[in-house]
Symmetry: C3
Subunit: 121 residues, 3 copies
């Protein structure tokens, strides 16, 4: 488990997208050669300030929107291709399409085989 085994070029692509776009994003990732992914149900808020509304005379703040978070650790496929695939598949042009973030990964292990680094992803 040496530092160098995984340090070059393994990254985690984290995307928060519309839930109804998960299927399209899954297909796009498989097409670009990066089919592995983890999906989490999340809720969130983007850059619009919270909207205050009225209901039966009471003020309330519009709550968080339901979204899906996709995590996709990539090594041999260029990260840029993965980000572009997600961006294109998740895009509608309306507010709320989401964001893609890339985080560095310093080590990776596949549990079944014990493989490490790029071979583990």
């Amino acid at each position: 488990m040496s530092e160098s085994a995984a340090s070059d070029g393994v990254e985690m692509v984290v995307a928060v997208i519309r839930r109804e776009k998960v299927s399209d994003v899954k297909a796009a990732l498989a097409e670009v050669g990066a089919p592995s992914l983890t999906v989490t149900d999340v809720r969130g808020r983007g850059s619009q300030p919270a909207k205050t509304e009225q209901w039966r005379g009471e003020e309330y703040t519009v709550d968080l929107h339901e979204k899906a978070k996709i995590e996709c650790v990539v090594a041999d496929v260029p990260t840029d291709d993965v980000v572009a695939a997600i961006r294109d598949a998740a895009h509608t042009g309306e507010k709320g399409d989401g964001k893609v973030f890339v985080l560095p990964v310093s080590h990776a292990v596949q549990i079944r085989t014990g493989k490490e680094g790029i071979d583990a992803v």
Copy 2:
């Protein structure tokens, strides 16, 4: 999508907090100028060793506590201000208040506009 576009100063602040503190943290983040966030229902355990209890003569281990995870990617607002806002809003002084972790982000894209780096956050 150049490396340099997002490499300076984009960070992901990850906080695990009491679920009943999510509203206060949302308000505190908006006030400090970082309203965007993603919330996930999680469960967890802190530094106390697992407690073993008895029930009808059977030993069992106290399970995980329900918490909320807040993820907040920040660029133009100083990360320290965001961390301090979360810390103050989530604080009760009792055990179980949670933790804040900061992770580096190497790239960011806003899906609707295609904007990258700091402008995407």
Copy 3:
């Protein structure tokens, strides 16, 4: 909250494992001296290309598998020991055992005490 406070050696270990292995992994982490963790229900897909099956004459794609994500921020216990503990406890040898990824953490705060860096983890 200086950069240097947490920059040396704080890492987030992220593991996606079988849900039925969460108890064993919790026990293994406690044994190795890293009991703190956050668990999220997720679903995912590994390196096998999506399987297309037939049901009543209709083709459909086999959906994502239910998994658990474990996040474990470590500082004083060596990351390699934590990764090995998870790997051994989550291993069955069958396809679908999961992956472990390690991400750098640049800062950490314990909300109750305000402690920072290694002391916060």
